[in-house]
Symmetry: D2
Subunit: 348 residues, 4 copies
C-alpha cells in the first residue's frame, strides 16, 4: 500500500548518504534550494555539537529530475559526507584495507550497540554505530523535503515547535537547561509538536487497521532514533470526560466548524479537516561525556562507555525529522486518494 516509496542508505562516516524515491507524479517542480534549507534546519538548533559545522549538508540529485521537474522516473538524492577523506580507509569497501583503527567494543548504553552486535554478529561495534547513528536522518529530511514540495502543491504546510526540554518550557529556560547539561557533560531530550495545516478531509481510513493515518504517523515518528512517545491531539485524554474531550460540530455561516481540536485533526483514523497535531518525546542523546557503566564485549569486563563527539540536545533536529517523516506518510496518502501520474491529472 505504499505508492510513495523510498529506500535510504549510507553510514555516518561513509562516502555519502543516498536515497531513491519512487512514486511521485511527473511535472512536479523540485526546488533544490528548498531541500538544502530543510537540511540546514536539521543541522541547526541550540545544543548541537561540533560536527554540525563540518557537515553543512547539501543534496545532489542524480536522477529523476530534469530541468527542474520530475518526469516519472525514480529520484536519487545524495548527500556527501564532507569529512569522508579522513575516514576513507576506516570505512573502506575493500577487504585489503581492513584495520581496527576506530574500532571499539564497549557497548554504549541507550544505543543499538548491544542488541545490534548480537543480531548482526559483529565484534567491531563501529559496524553497528555507523548505520544506527542519527546521521542517517539527514537523507530522510531530504526525502521529506521532496514530499513537502508535493504537499505544497495541494496547499499543505507544516511547522514545528519545542514544548519542553528538561525542566525548561520557554526558549530562555530551554537554553539554560541545555547550557547546564553541557557543562555537566550530560545530555537532554525533549518534547516537541508538529502541525500540518491544509490537509484534505479523509486521508487514512478506519476500514482496516493498517490504513489508519494516526497509526502510520505513529510508526513514522516513533521509528526516529531516540523518540520514545507519540501522541495525536490533546495529551490528557485519559483524564477527561467524553463530554469535555470530543470536538463538537457547529454550523456557522452555513459551514461546519469546530471550536476545539482535542482530536488533533484525526477521527476514525482519518483527517477531519482540522489541523493535524502530533507531539513526540525524544529521550536524551545516549552519547555523553559523563561516563556510564557498561561492559566490554571483547574482554567481558566491567568498564565505562565509549565517547564519540556528539551533541547535548538535538530536539530541534528531531522535530525537523518528524516533520519530514510525516510528510512522507501524507504524500503517500495523497497519492493513494487521488492517484495521478502527472501533476496535470489533479485539475486543482
Amino acid at each position: 500500500m505504499e505508492k510513495f516509496r523510498f529506500l535510504t542508505a549510507g553510514e555516518s562516516h561513509g562516502k555519502c548518504l543516498t536515497a531513491i524515491i519512487e512514486g511521485l507524479p511527473a511535472n512536479l517542480e523540485i526546488d533544490v534550494d528548498f531541500i538544502n534549507e530543510e537540511l540546514k534546519r536539521r543541522q541547526c538548533g541550540y545544543g548541537r555539537g561540533g560536527r554540525m559545522k563540518i557537515e553543512s549538508d547539501t543534496v545532489e540529485i542524480t536522477s529523476g529530475v530534469r530541468f527542474g521537474k520530475t518526469f516519472g522516473a525514480p529520484i536519487t538524492l545524495v548527500i556527501y559526507n564532507k569529512d569522508f577523506e579522513n575516514w576513507q580507509k576506516i570505512m573502506s569497501v575493500s577487504p585489503a584495507d581492513e584495520t581496527d583503527e576506530k574500532s571499539f567494543t564497549k557497548y554504549r548504553p541507550g544505543h543499538a550497540d548491544y542488541a545490534g552486535s548480537i543480531k548482526y554478529h559483529q565484534k567491531d561495534l563501529r559496524n553497528i554505530l555507523e548505520r544506527s547513528s542519527a546521521r542517517k536522518t539527514a537523507i530522510e529530511v531530504a526525502v521529506g523535503a521532496v514530499a513537502k514540495l508535493y504537499l505544497k502543491y495541494f496547499g499543505i504546510e507544516c511547522s514545528s515547535r519545542i514544548i519542553q526540554v528538561g525542566q525548561g518550557k520557554t526558549e530562555e529556560e530551554i537554553h539554560a537547561q541545555i547550557d547546564k547539561a553541557k557543562e555537566m557533560g550530560d545530555t537532554l531530550g525533549g518534547k516537541f509538536e508538529v502541525i500540518y495545516k491544509g490537509l484534505p478531509i479523509g486521508l487514512g481510513s478506519y476500514v482496516h487497521w493498517d490504513k489508519a493515518l494516526d497509526g502510520r504517523i505513529a510508526q513514522a515518528v516513533m521509528s526516529i532514533p531516540a523518540v520514545k512517545a507519540v501522541s495525536i491531539g490533546e495529551n490528557h485524554a485519559y483524564k477527561m470526560f467524553g463530554s469535555e474531550f470530543h470536538d463538537e460540530l457547529f454550523l456557522v455561516d452555513d459551514k461546519i466548524v469546530r471550536k476545539t481540536n482535542n482530536a488533533g485533526g484525526i477521527e476514525g483514523g482519518m483527517t477531519n479537516g482540522e489541523d493535524l497535531i502530533v507531539k513526540a518525546v525524544m529521550k536524551p542523546i545516549p552519547t555523553l561525556k559523563k561516563s556510564l557503566n557498561t561492559v566490554d564485549a571483547s574482554t567481558l569486563e566491567q568498564t565505562e562507555a565509549h565517547f564519540e563527539r556528539s551533541d547535548t540536545c538535538a530536539v530541534e533536529a528531531c522535530a525537523v525529522v518528524a516533520e519530514s517523516r510525516i510528510a512522507c506518510v501524507l504524500a503517500n496518502e495523497i497519492l493513494l486518494k487521488f492517484g495521478g501520474d502527472a501533476i496535470e491529472d489533479y485539475n486543482l
Copy 2:
C-alpha cells in the same frame, strides 16, 4: 515485509466478523479455547455496557487448522454476531431490502461519521458506523490470540494493566470514576500498559526506518480505535538527563544485566533482552448519553448527537486489543528473523 499477514472484515451488526491469516508455519497447535478466552477478556472489564452480554463471542475456524494443528494453509476465523437476526434486513446485501430503518444523519463528534461520510460519499451514516465501530476489534483479538499461540512456542508471554482512568489510579478509584461517569451519562478513557516478556534479542532493526520495532508497535497500537498516544518505556524521558535515563550494563555472574529498563526493552529499534513495555492512552468513548452539539448532514441544521447503546469505559478491552496487535507485530518479526515453514524448523 509482512510474513504474518492478515485481513479482517465485518460490520458491527453484520452477519459475522471474518479474518484470514496467512504466513504461520505448519504444525503449530491451535488451542481454540485459548482464542475464546481472549475474546472473553476483551468483553469483560468494569464499565462495559449491555451489548457485551449479547455478544459472548466465540470463534469458528473454517480453514487452515486440521486435527488441532496448522498445516501451512491460510487460517479463517469467524465470529458470528449473536443478534444478527434482528439486523438481517437492515444490513442486507440485497438492493431489494433497501430501507432507511436505523439510518441516521447526525454526525457523532469523536467518531468517523463526519470525515467518513465525505470520504466515502455516504448519506446514511450507518454505512460509516458499521465498519468504524470498535466491534471489529473482536476479530483482531482472535487474530492476536493465534499470534500469541505462536509466540508462546518461543516462550514469549504478555500481560497488561490499567494505569489510570480519569483521576483514578487504583482499582477502587477507577471503579468509582467509572460509576460517576456512568451516572452522569458521560464516558471515560484511560491509560494502560502492555508488557511482553521473553523476547529474543534483536527483533526489529535500525538499518531502515520501517524496520524499527518501536515504530511498528506504535502503528499497531495507535491505530486501535480511540487510542491517542503510545510510548515505549519511561514516560518522562523529556525531563531526564542522559545520565539518569540510559540503562547501564553490568556484569553479574559473567552475565550482562541491567538494573533499570527506562528504554522499555527497545534500543536502536530492536529488542534488547529486557521486558518490552508499551503504554497507551485511550480517549473517552465518543458515544455518550450526555448530548453533544453537532450538525445534521441531511438538513444542515444544528442539532444534538445520535445515541447508540454503548459502554462507559472500555480501557480494559482496549488493553487486550493492544496486546493482540502487538502479538501480530512480534509474530511477524519472529518469522522474519527465524523463517520457518514448519515448527520443526526451529530446533528449539
Copy 3:
C-alpha cells in the same frame, strides 16, 4: 503497491472457501448473479469430471456490501463446499477427531505432494492436497468477478478462448482429443488466450521493474495451478525482424491508429490503447487414472500414484481463472492510477 488487495483461504474438502477483498471504492454496485455466473463458467467446460456437478458453486457475501453496493468496508466472499458433510470428520479442526481415513502417502507426480510434504513437514499428504488443489481457484474467480464489476464501470470487458488442446485446434478436434484422453484414462492441458478491451492508456509503467504491467499479469497467470507458460501478444517474436514485429502508428482521420497488435497491447510495460492479449499454456492435469510411477513416503518403496476423482481437461476453467486473476491486476492498476474512495470520485 497493492491497493486492490485480497487474501483467500479454504481447503478442497473443507467447510468453505473464503476471501476478503480490501480496497475498492464505495458505491460500486455488486451484482451477485454476475459472480455466480462466473463461478458457473469455471465449472463448465468439456472434459470436467463428476465433482463439478456436486459443486454448483454460489457465493455468499457476509460483509462489505449493503443494499447492493460497497461502502468502503472490506468484502467477505464465502463459497460453501456442498459435500462437506461427508468430510466433516476428516477435515475436522478438533484434535479429538484425528483419523487417518482418507490419508495417503504416495506422492502424486506433477502435484505439490513431494515438495510440499518436505517443506511443511507433513506425513499425511492430504494436508498438502487440500490446499494445493485447484479447488481454491473457485474463490479466486469470485474475487475476480468483483474486480470485473469494477472494471466494467470503466468500460473494460474481457473474453477468452481455447487455442489448442493436444493436437486439436477446433472445437470438434478438441472434444475428440479430450474424449480420447478420457478413454485412455489420461489427461490433457491446452493453450488459451484472454483478451481485455477498453483499457485506458498508461496502466503499468517502465519506471521501475515491479510496476511493469506485463510482469504483473505474468505473475498472476503463471501462478495459476498447472500454468507453465505465459505470453503477451504475438508468440513468434523470436523469429521476426524488428521491421515485421513492431506495430507502426498511423494517422487516420486525425486519430492515431495501429494496423497490427503484435505487442499485445503492451509497450514499455504499459497499456498502449490496443487490446490486451495474453496467452497461456496449461499442463495436463496431474491426477490421472493411468498409473504413474512414484514412491510411498511412509514406506519408501516404489509404487504407483494415488488416484482421486478428477477431470480429463480443465483448460476452459483455467482460462476463466486467468481472466479473473488479470481482472485483479487491472483493478489494482486502475486504483493506483485514478485513486478514488467512492465511485463519485471518478467523474466519468
Copy 4:
C-alpha cells in the same frame, strides 16, 4: 512479503545508475570483481552496437559493505555513465539549463514513447526514452550479482544459453542471422533459457497465489524490457498427455530421483529438487535503422520513426538480465524460508 528489497534509479544518459539493496544478512562476502564480470557479461554478446564500448560498466559501492563484507546496512551500488560529460547540459537537473537539444517528438513504435508521453504528460519524448531505455538493466545486473553472491553461499549456481534467434538455432546460424539483420538495418530478438541448479526443495508455495515461485519468476522475467513470453520447463505441455508430461518418481539407491524434468523444477509453485528451467522470448529491438511509420506528437503528422544508436540483437544481454532478476527472486525466497540476520545464523 519482500525481504530482499531494492529500488533502482537512473537515466540512460544521466550521471549514473543507482540501486539500494536492503535485506541481506551481515557478514556476506561481496566480491566487487564478480559484480563487474557480470556487468561485462551483459555488455558483450554478438549483435551489440557501439555504445557497449563506451560503457564498460563498473560498479562503485558507496554503503553497506566494509572490508569486503556486509554488516546489515543497506547497500548502495552506483554505475557512472562514461559519456555523461557530453550529456550534462541535456540531462541537467537545473531549470536554467532547459534546452530542446536532443528532444524529439516522433513516437518510436515498440517503445514506451506513445503510452509514456500520454501517461506522464510529456511533450519531449526524451523524458520517456531516458528511463524506459534498457540501459537501466545494467544496475539490475549489479543488484542480481549481489543476490547471486548470496545464493552461492547456499551452493546455488546459474547459467543461461541462447536457443534461437530468427531462424538460427546454432551459434553459427545465429551469427549469420544477426549479420543479415544488421546489413538490412533491421533487428532481431530471440529465445533463451536460464537454468538454476542446487536450489533447496520448497522455495515458494501453493498456499496463496502470490507465494507461487513460478509466478514470481514470471513477473521478474516478463518485466524485462522486450521480453514477451516466459515458460517454466517443457514448452509443449499443451500438446502432451498427462502420462507423458509428468515427472515420475523413482527410488534409486534409497534416494528419490526423477528421470525427466518437464516441470522445470517447479511443482505446486515450489522448487522440487530438480533444476529450475526458465525460458523466455525477447522481441526484436524496437530501435532500428530501417524506417518505421509513425506519428509526430508535436505536429500530429504522419512521419518516420526517430533513430538513436542501438544494437542489432541483445538477446545475450537479456539472458544475463533474466539470470539477475531470477537471482533476486530466489534470494528473497531463501530469506523468507531461512530468515537470518547474519551468515552465522545458517549453520550450513
